[in-house]
Symmetry: D3
Amino acid sequence: MHEDIKKIISDIKSLKIQGARNVAKAVLKALILQAKYSKAKNSKSFYDEIKHLSLLLADTRPTEPMMRNLLERASGYLYEKSREYKEKKQLNRLKNDFINEQKNYIKKIDEDAEKLFAYGARLVPDGAVIITHCHSSTVTGILKKAKRKNIKVIACETRPRYQGRITAKELAEAGIDVTLVVDGAMNLYMKKADLVLVGADSVTSRGDLINKVGTSTLAHIARMHDVSFYSAAELFKYSIMTFYGTREKIEERDPSEVWEKPPKRIKISNPAFDVTAAKYINGYVTEVGVIPPQSFFTLATQKLGVKIYE
Amino acid sequence: MHEDIKKIISDIKSLKIQGARNVAKAVLKALILQAKYSKAKNSKSFYDEIKHLSLLLADTRPTEPMMRNLLERASGYLYEKSREYKEKKQLNRLKNDFINEQKNYIKKIDEDAEKLFAYGARLVPDGAVIITHCHSSTVTGILKKAKRKNIKVIACETRPRYQGRITAKELAEAGIDVTLVVDGAMNLYMKKADLVLVGADSVTSRGDLINKVGTSTLAHIARMHDVSFYSAAELFKYSIMTFYGTREKIEERDPSEVWEKPPKRIKISNPAFDVTAAKYINGYVTEVGVIPPQSFFTLATQKLGVKIYE
Amino acid sequence: MHEDIKKIISDIKSLKIQGARNVAKAVLKALILQAKYSKAKNSKSFYDEIKHLSLLLADTRPTEPMMRNLLERASGYLYEKSREYKEKKQLNRLKNDFINEQKNYIKKIDEDAEKLFAYGARLVPDGAVIITHCHSSTVTGILKKAKRKNIKVIACETRPRYQGRITAKELAEAGIDVTLVVDGAMNLYMKKADLVLVGADSVTSRGDLINKVGTSTLAHIARMHDVSFYSAAELFKYSIMTFYGTREKIEERDPSEVWEKPPKRIKISNPAFDVTAAKYINGYVTEVGVIPPQSFFTLATQKLGVKIYE
Amino acid sequence: MHEDIKKIISDIKSLKIQGARNVAKAVLKALILQAKYSKAKNSKSFYDEIKHLSLLLADTRPTEPMMRNLLERASGYLYEKSREYKEKKQLNRLKNDFINEQKNYIKKIDEDAEKLFAYGARLVPDGAVIITHCHSSTVTGILKKAKRKNIKVIACETRPRYQGRITAKELAEAGIDVTLVVDGAMNLYMKKADLVLVGADSVTSRGDLINKVGTSTLAHIARMHDVSFYSAAELFKYSIMTFYGTREKIEERDPSEVWEKPPKRIKISNPAFDVTAAKYINGYVTEVGVIPPQSFFTLATQKLGVKIYE
Amino acid sequence: MHEDIKKIISDIKSLKIQGARNVAKAVLKALILQAKYSKAKNSKSFYDEIKHLSLLLADTRPTEPMMRNLLERASGYLYEKSREYKEKKQLNRLKNDFINEQKNYIKKIDEDAEKLFAYGARLVPDGAVIITHCHSSTVTGILKKAKRKNIKVIACETRPRYQGRITAKELAEAGIDVTLVVDGAMNLYMKKADLVLVGADSVTSRGDLINKVGTSTLAHIARMHDVSFYSAAELFKYSIMTFYGTREKIEERDPSEVWEKPPKRIKISNPAFDVTAAKYINGYVTEVGVIPPQSFFTLATQKLGVKIYE
Amino acid sequence: MHEDIKKIISDIKSLKIQGARNVAKAVLKALILQAKYSKAKNSKSFYDEIKHLSLLLADTRPTEPMMRNLLERASGYLYEKSREYKEKKQLNRLKNDFINEQKNYIKKIDEDAEKLFAYGARLVPDGAVIITHCHSSTVTGILKKAKRKNIKVIACETRPRYQGRITAKELAEAGIDVTLVVDGAMNLYMKKADLVLVGADSVTSRGDLINKVGTSTLAHIARMHDVSFYSAAELFKYSIMTFYGTREKIEERDPSEVWEKPPKRIKISNPAFDVTAAKYINGYVTEVGVIPPQSFFTLATQKLGVKIYE
């Protein structure tokens, strides 16, 4: 394997590369490098090389649907193309087409993010009070675009890792009025909120949202006060395995994140995520527009090119 | 003022004396000392001395209804007695009666706590999963009494000051199965809970509960899952001024509790309490028994000896 | 019957005298006049005179619990006193006592109202947005007292008779920031409201509120947004017959109030009141303090001197 | 022990005597018999005899709060009286007073029931559709009194023992329009119901209702449709031990009631009761009037003569 | 511009032409006239003429998605066709095709309405009590078709402009049993309702409904009683800009509609619309069938021929 | 008509053939037989024969959307093919194609069921407590597949016909931990449940579920406790007539099923089904995957090949 590809793999593993979009772009770059340095003699072995690397890349992060979906999409593209260019002499054309397709997609990831920010920013009412949780560059992207609307943001600190502080810092630096509060204070601030806006780790086929623990608590509290609850999520956040019934697993993280040196005999539970049912979500802000949660899987399926009826 | 009284006042102010019951007992001790060392020549000036000290003591903690109610009760007792023992030579008898009454009450505070613990422990179902918030010696008193029932406790860490850790430590040392979780995880654990049990800073005339911020979030989440929500509160936690319409003030504490050195331009809001409406509370565990929230003010009014119709 | 008494009766009937408190004071004045001009020869016939007049007065308004309760109270007082002063020569003393008692009560009605206003005003948070319905001098009394708190009032116009306009006018003249909206807009404004405050026609033994049609709609909408809902009601608004199971009757008023000359074949329903269940009410503001709806009947029963166990 | 008393005890045990009121009257009769045939030489040993019999009688039915409360009341009465009539020659007077008191109470049980029926009947709206569950002679007593109001009753059959059929039969014989439905159909009929009315096995200090399994399901469904839910319960149904925190135990009955000869390996759970939280109950219909669930314990405590503050 | 076209524009502006369908048909007629009288020399300039007129027509009513969608559709059709018929001599064929397409669509508007009425009428249960709000010819169209089902309609008067009276009159003339009530009485009548049926000003991409103020209040009250809530809306009511995140603006109308000559200092707020979230809506009745709110944008997008992925 | 076809028709009518899938397979077999023994001379008359038989078969069960949808699909297939093979000599090819298509579909029915079972089994959490109602081979198919997950099943007995016993027996024989309870006990067991899983008689265009009476009660109770509610339903359970507005009729079955020989004058209502609104359903488990209720009609429409815009 080429050194540059190894570097990408190790950077993802060591969290040097972070954020769903950055990871996705990095794995596409790895595929491009592989195509460039490939010594495959025919389309079959080229496809195998790419497929093999894809599996390695997918393993760098067990739960990143966006990256997995893009790797899947790339293999699918190559498979179709390789049937089209069957002849040997077409191998270079195949590689070039594959490289260009991935380059375009890298650009498209950022273009799609910009579209999503714009759609989200329009959704924010003038002078709105917005509650958010954890840190999501998709959410901060929207809020920065909506800055002119004179918004006020309440950021929950998001224990145990305080990602709410990252959100607060980023927004404050962008000149947005932001207040940090402890997670338990949600109910106190919800009364005056116009909107809850959170990111997404992944989205199930029923439109349920998998996101940082605390999200479902926030969504329940929003419902109690009939405040709108939106999640900003690219369609590639779709977790296709949930369509086939697989349950979302709730990762249990290291207890020391919650309490570094706890006294004996105290158990500490530190779940990474929770599930917010579609019924608590008003809509998803995506790169194609603002959609009801129940349509997420239809649109994502189309974008991924997955066929429902075989 | 006698040195021992000064010591009590400074110990309360410096938080050496903590917990609603301990503070209450300390101020009654101060009254006893005052009575012992009093140089008052007649019942009128004796009453004035006690009243004056009471006001000083009440000022040591602006929000401690239990202490305030007991000081009020002591003055009331003295006022009635001083009308009974009008003659000068009865002054010593008056002092003695007053001292004995306070001594009895100090004992009664602990006896009442024991009763409350017993009532609360009976309320806990066998094998119950109980969620609690913050630290309350009344709640831990109940849970320790209910230990034999094979209970499991989920303690919310209670940011910003992590009092949930004190609860977890105390229960673990008592051999109770306790799990500490971050506040945002409430909703995830509520599904399997049998009971929510919290303490009380004070209780309003409508039966609303003033308690550590996060309590009302917990109560709303409990309602969403139809889980019983109880608060353990001595009747002296009654905030009589709410009967006369005064709103509960939500103290705003130092932001450094939430984030010691935050970057610039980030506002931090750190409310100490929130209000849980009576409609979210199944009952209060008190020293006389387990009662509906709407009866709290009637029973507390009777115990305090306050007359509703003048 | 004395002319002045006849005048009072006709003024109540013709609505020259309006408002629960004014009507109550007027009937007590009528009793005083009767006592003054009475030619009764003994306490028995004096009692009969007063009782007879009471029934006439009660008939002037079929649904005014406050007036009825005060008439009932006056008879009860006279009955007890007449047993005390059995001898003939004590008749004048009896009349005088009776007259003084009623005079005191007339004064007390206004004093109680002032207390209620003060308790209610304390309950209003600083800078609060308050939604109200119909017109109630008890509500406007509170709001005027709370004016310094920099409140904003949303008055629902209260079709069909637009009493919301009276409220809006009275508050605007008092210098309060008031906005009039149509009744259907309730839900739109509830999101930003801190408090709903309405008056009371009567209160049942379960703590349910009988008030102008639209009140229960407002209460349901408040619950959907978890906004506090209070009613301002003197304890004499208690409808004792509901304790004995009698259902509240919903008066059906003239259809022309809704549409003066409707086309043919259209039915028009114009109910005067609706019932708001206790579970939607956070508390009642009364002359003794702010209480949970479930305590209304206990306190009212005590004030009225009704015995629960015969 | 006298044969007649033995007969009463065996009749209660063999279910020849049924229904809370009938059992209560039977045990009072047993006390009267004991007093008549007593050979006690002094008030102390008479009291011991009565107390001993009371314990035997209480054991005939482990869960009948009404009977237990009445036995408790009888002992209390005797204790007070025996202190009054200390002298030996007063023993007969003591016995007579005791007998008369119990006789009066037997009459009062029926008089109280009649009052309760009347209060309940007034509560039923004209032309109402009423859903009921299981069989309660208190409920059928009310419905028969309300017959003239042109009511329609939906009786849930109440598996496993079909007591709904007894209700349906009794009402049909009384000429009331009654429809029997399976328990699962509750939701289908709730949309058109005006009222749910059930009986009560016992009532806790928080106002929660212990009643035949299925009652809490009915109450939840009523809440979903905002239909009023009432329980008819004499104040003696109060379970005082719940005031002292003791949990209501849910009796598990014989599985053969559900399925006589089930195939192997199928577990059958057959709980006798469930608990309906006070927040789902609009009111209790009692012999003193219609009250909020939160007042049940206050009024019952007063009627029982229990002191809250010792 | 031709006089007949000017006439259409002025008739729409002066409200001589009213109702979403009538306005839509009028603007298509205007396009036909323009095509007939067009002096364009080539397809490019013909397209420009039509596009220019379309913008003028769209401006006659700022908020009429149906008209806007049809104008958009007409331009789209022309654009495609003009690429097909590129040659000059095909210009007449192009005009004719365009004219015929619009004529067909005018007919289709009415045919679609008829289909919608039929689908809606089937949805109405026999003997149903239906609550409606404001006036919508789509709703009255359905109700008239459902007349044989022996329905009863409750029409809310819909302050400030009393459009409920228009509904009541139209239905009464059609022989339907209709009762007019004030808007505040919603909650009183909901208990006995089977269905709420309203029209639609526009529908967002999330399936939210923009409609006359009071609609969201009605929807919340329906949810409280678990009564089905449907909106009748042609797919062309879809507001495509909400897909791209744009918020629905709530037009603020003239205060004199609420109170012609109000006293000084009273603010009057008169919002024209409110937003009912998809979660409160059971379904939309459309010309293709009865659909969940979440599918509205998918079907509307297909009908409009908008592509989601560019 | 061939004897074998007659046999199939009579077996369906006499309930010898039961279950939606078995009935569907049987009618396809009947079509195959008809094609085999057909004496039609041209494709037109062959189509007529098949269409005629389809109508006869559809009549054997008035409410079986799966069978109806498959018959409809078969006719549609034949219609298209017969236009393709117009020439006479192609008639045999047409018959063969038709027979093969039906044979394939019979196989596909079972394959689809297996897929559905697999998707559903993945959805079940490890160690889950699952509540179910009535008997559905689709539900038991899932549960048996999920057996290794160490599940516990609560089966409601499902009065009046006790189909819950069939479920309990089938699961117990498969070695699954199953507990049978009466229907009224739902609320008691819901507190500890992780999932409710039921079958489906049919599904409406809004995603509402038509299923055995008691299902909607279960769904409402699940919502009260925020427990997930899923229905297992093949896409062919789609009731297309609801798209066109037709209401689901609730069949009223024989009262003797509820009470064999009831006393006189008791009405018995025995509805077969009830309707569970989409808002109470988290998702449907189908043969293509787990989907939100709102997508059921889209996917079913595609599978059926129905065109939405004609």
